[in-house]
């Protein structure tokens, strides 16, 4: 018999960094779709059972994020729901090579300051993402079976800076650790994070572990 008062109020987020995008310097990055190898990788993601217990599939509104999670959602008879809170951190203009890298370094080193004109700060982005996560946590309750219960689980596709900024905010990463985590991200990539009512947040599966 299930005792409702003893069921842990736990959520699991499957965080997905989008697959390889088709780079077009003439257009803003937020409009890019997936490259051919990115589309193939997105289809490979649909073979992973880690998504089998996801109750919902959410992504930032950028085409590359929606397209990364679309085959996974289809495998489970669902559609990806766009969520502006999961968009990549806002940036403006095309910064190539070294200039882009140095801007990202400033993004993590000084999270309360814009790293370049009209860029979103890491702190603001993390707060935006966390607020969207909290809205989804309110929507998804733990799954109760006769005699046992499982955490509520949902998948979120976003961008590399955004996901790293969120994890840094959630887990208290130093700037160095955040930068290292960002550099190590693959395309696509997956992490699983657990948010419990009675315990600190924790990473269950690290980015880089389930690369496809």
């Amino acid at each position: 018999m299930t005792n409702a008062s003893r069921i842990p109020q736990t959520h699991r987020l499957i965080l997905v960094r989008h697959a390889h995008s088709s780079v077009d310097p003439a257009r803003p990055a937020r409009e890019w779709g997936l490259a051919d190898d990115g589309r193939a990788a997105a289809r490979r993601l649909a073979s992973l059972a880690v998504f089998d217990h996801a109750a919902g599939f959410y992504a930032g509104p950028e085409p590359k994020m929606l397209a990364t999670l679309a085959p996974v959602a289809a495998e489970h008879g669902q559609q990806v729901q766009p969520e502006p809170g999961f968009a990549e951190t806002h940036s403006e203009g095309w910064l190539g090579g070294e200039q882009f890298l140095s801007t990202v370094h400033r993004f993590f080193e000084t999270p309360d300051q814009p790293p370049a004109p009209d860029w979103e700060t890491a702190a603001a982005a993390a707060a935006r993402f966390a607020a969207a996560v909290e809205r989804l946590r309110a929507r998804h309750a733990p799954v109760v079976h006769p005699g046992h219960a499982l955490p509520a689980t949902f998948a979120i596709a976003s961008g590399g800076r955004m996901l790293t900024a969120y994890l840094s905010h959630l887990l208290g990463y130093s700037a160095e650790r955040a930068l290292e985590a960002w550099h190590r991200l693959k395309m696509p990539d997956i992490a699983v994070v657990e948010l419990a009512a009675t315990a600190p947040p924790r990473v269950v599966i690290l980015f880089g572990t389930l690369a496809v």
């Binding site: 018999m1 003893r6 069921i7 289809r43 073979s47 880690v50 269950v204």
Partner: protein
Amino acid sequence: MAGRAQAFSDPTVIALASERFVPVAENCSPLQSQRDAKGEFFRLVAEQGHYAGHTYPTGTRQGYYTFTADGKVLAAMNSRDPQRMIDLMQTALRRWHTLVDLAVATNGHAGNGAASRADAVPDYVPARPSLYPEGGFVLQLAARDLPREVDTRKDDWRRHAWNLDYAWFTRDEARSLVPEILTPGNRKQAPREIVRRLARFHLRDFVRGEPSVWPEEAIRHGELIAEIVEVSGDRVRLALRGAILLQREAHWVRPEDGEERRSDTGFDATLVGAATWDAARRAFTSFDLLAAGPRCGANQYNNRSDDLGPAPMGIAFTLAGHEPRDRTPPHTIYHRDYFVA
């Protein structure tokens, strides 16, 4: 134990598991917390599966998992239903081919999980070294309820339950069972260590589950005597006879509701059997021992709450074979007292 007969008796399940997968069986209880690479790998697999994040009422991760060699789970579940098992395997194979075919098409090689280099799986230092007694004396155990005059058991799996286990003894311990002078009529009392191991670790009521070991003080009486009945060259035939009485009050807390439970438990076992000792090889070539008698009571993991008894139970001890499965460790092998004198 019911799952063994139910899920793995279906010919399609047997064929798929044998031919399309690398089948492996493990006790997940230690792996769920074991601090080494194997434990970490199991947890990576389990946290993608059907019990990912499961903490209520227990943190069990038992079930059936299909995955790539590098730990990407393809499908997982915890159901003994043969059709669901077939569905699980077919889903896994479909996903496996998607992963491999798309990787080959994109990268020109299968990549993760299907690499061709066997050394892609590194060596590791096990947190728990194997205690298998190489060259020693390994017995397979089977336990089953014996017929009753009045049978109040439900006519379901409980009436047909049986279970397996293994018992490990060293080569020296095997010799210690045999009289020093190999002459018919000579007798030898089994050393206390052997009787203690049989009693505490192997005369458990494991017909329906996995009871914990008997504490030392539960042993009220224990003896096992080997008598030489025939000597023919190096072949020494022995008759085995003994009795072991175990009694204790079991206490536990039900994880579902935190309720405290207690039960008077016991096993009054008569031991009878026969063995053949090869004096040249200094090893048993046959060993057949039956421990039978009335058992009573329930404990946390023996599933006897509806069958307190007393009712008869038998445990058969037989020399184990040489298949990989015959190296399966005793259920209680990592108890600190198992090999302790």
